[in-house]
């Protein structure tokens, strides 16, 4: 878990993202495809600018939404793994 927590994520090349009230809308420029992520108020596009560690994102969500950190720690990896598999984001080791 410690390894994951120190990783950062950034948008993949040719991908854009915007915040919607139900979550994030990703757009793949080369294929003109959209990808809906129902993340509610947890994630923001800024979280994928390459500067936020997993740990930082968890703390940010917990602070803003008052969700216990352990719940976020359980759910967030599933969400980000899906985004990585879909090639919307890339994870990087700091």
């Amino acid at each position: 878990m410690r390894g994951i927590l120190s990783m950062t994520c950034r948008l993949a090349d040719n991908v854009q993202v915007r915040k919607e009230n139900w979550g994030l809308l990703f757009y793949l420029e080369t294929r003109h495809k959209v990808f809906f992520v129902r993340s509610g108020d947890w994630l923001y596009p800024e979280h994928f600018d390459g500067t936020w560690t997993f740990d930082g994102i968890i703390n940010d969500i917990a602070r803003r939404t008052e969700t216990p950190a352990e719940i976020i720690e359980r759910s967030l990896p599933r969400l980000t793994e899906r985004l990585i598999r879909s090639r919307m984001i890339i994870d990087e080791v700091c």
Partner: protein, 343 residues
């Protein structure tokens, strides 16, 4: 809930017709383009609209309508859009390309170009797009080919070119381009040519089978209702008007889609109100978002397609609550009702 029902703060993409001016007079033109309309937006107004769209994070702008390359400020506008990071798709008739335009498109990651060609031979294409246009369009395609420009040839499928779709695909491939097919819809000048050019039920079935067999053929979102379910995962599977997309006309009026440019469907004008206000609050857009044609509600496919293309339904029946007459269910019914072929 389907993805297209998830409320969006702005469209994913939109069609922008920057001018009604066109050097061709295609008999199926959706916007009856020929000469510039009085009161078309000027460059400063267009840039201000781009600023709004960029703030809203609209991902893509598709230029079409008249011939965008005839607008004197089109290329500067395009460059400005690219500085805002918005992807563009330029739909052109291919006959007025300049060196400057080709240079602007070349190697540009935010540019896609679509050239309209409506037949694999002059005999077919020129009946639709005008005498002598086939060779001029091919010259345009040749100027764009091999230049690191994502290129597609766009064909509006009609009874005239239906038999040439395979040839058109080969032709596109020979230029390193994709073939994209569009539905023929009875708006603009196509209202006059509808009966002559529309596909019959057998052709609709052939088109559906052909598309089902070949996922490399690109289609617009209006194909969800006329093709088999196997193709649905390739794109949007219901009408995206006012949900994912909309259309800005040359004078700043905003409509649900490029095929629904009727005054009664207008959401507002960008000279008078903001794009965001039109998208969120206009009565026309709110109506389209909840449109579920009565004629379709008992159909077994209703939950899949929500009623097909409203533009075709409206222009054929003048009733938004009627069904898309070319939807898979309707053409299947027409075929089964036809007398058996004598052999």
């Amino acid at each position: 809930m389907k993805y297209a029902d998830w409320p969006l703060s702005a469209p994913v993409n939109l069609t922008w017709e920057v001018t009604h001016q066109c050097n061709l007079k295609c008999i199926h033109c959706l916007s009856s383009s020929s000469v510039e309309s009085p009161g078309e937006l000027d460059e400063a107004e267009c840039r201000a609209i781009v600023d709004q769209l960029a703030t809203l994070k609209v991902f893509e702008i598709n230029f079409g309508g008249g011939e965008p390359l005839l607008k004197d400020f089109f290329l500067p506008l395009l460059r400005y859009i690219h500085t805002r990071g918005i992807v563009t798709c330029i739909s052109t008739n291919g006959t007025v390309l300049t060196d400057e335009a080709v240079a602007c498109f070349t190697g540009n990651p935010l540019v896609n170009v679509q050239v309209s060609l409506d037949g694999a031979t002059p005999e077919v294409n020129d009946r639709i797009r005008g005498q002598g246009t086939f060779h001029r369009i091919i010259k345009g395609i040749e100027r764009l080919a091999g230049k690191n420009i994502p290129l597609s040839i766009n064909t509006v499928v009609t009874s005239l070119n239906f038999m040439q779709l395979g040839q058109l695909k080969e032709m596109a491939g020979s230029y390193g381009a994709s073939l994209r097919v569009s539905r023929f819809r009875p708006s603009g000048r196509a209202r006059e040519s509808w009966e002559m050019l529309r596909l019959n039920p057998e052709q609709l079935r052939g088109l559906s089978d052909w598309l089902g067999d070949d996922p490399s053929i690109l289609t617009g979102d209006s194909f969800f209702s006329i093709s088999q379910d196997g193709r649905r995962h390739l794109g949007l599977d219901m009408c995206g008007a006012c949900k994912m997309t909309c259309c800005i006309d040359p004078c700043g009026f905003v409509y649900p889609c490029a095929f629904m440019q009727e005054r009664e469907f207008c959401g507002g004008n960008l000279r008078e109100t903001t794009f965001k206000d039109i998208w969120d609050n206009s009565a026309a857009f709110q109506y389209f978002r909840q449109l579920e044609p009565e004629a379709c509600r008992k159909c077994p496919r209703f939950n899949s397609c929500r009623g097909g293309c409203p533009a075709v339904a409206y222009f054929v029946s003048h009733d938004l609550n009627s069904a898309d007459p070319e939807c898979l269910i309707n053409w299947s019914r027409d075929i089964s009702a036809a007398p058996p072929l004598e052999g």
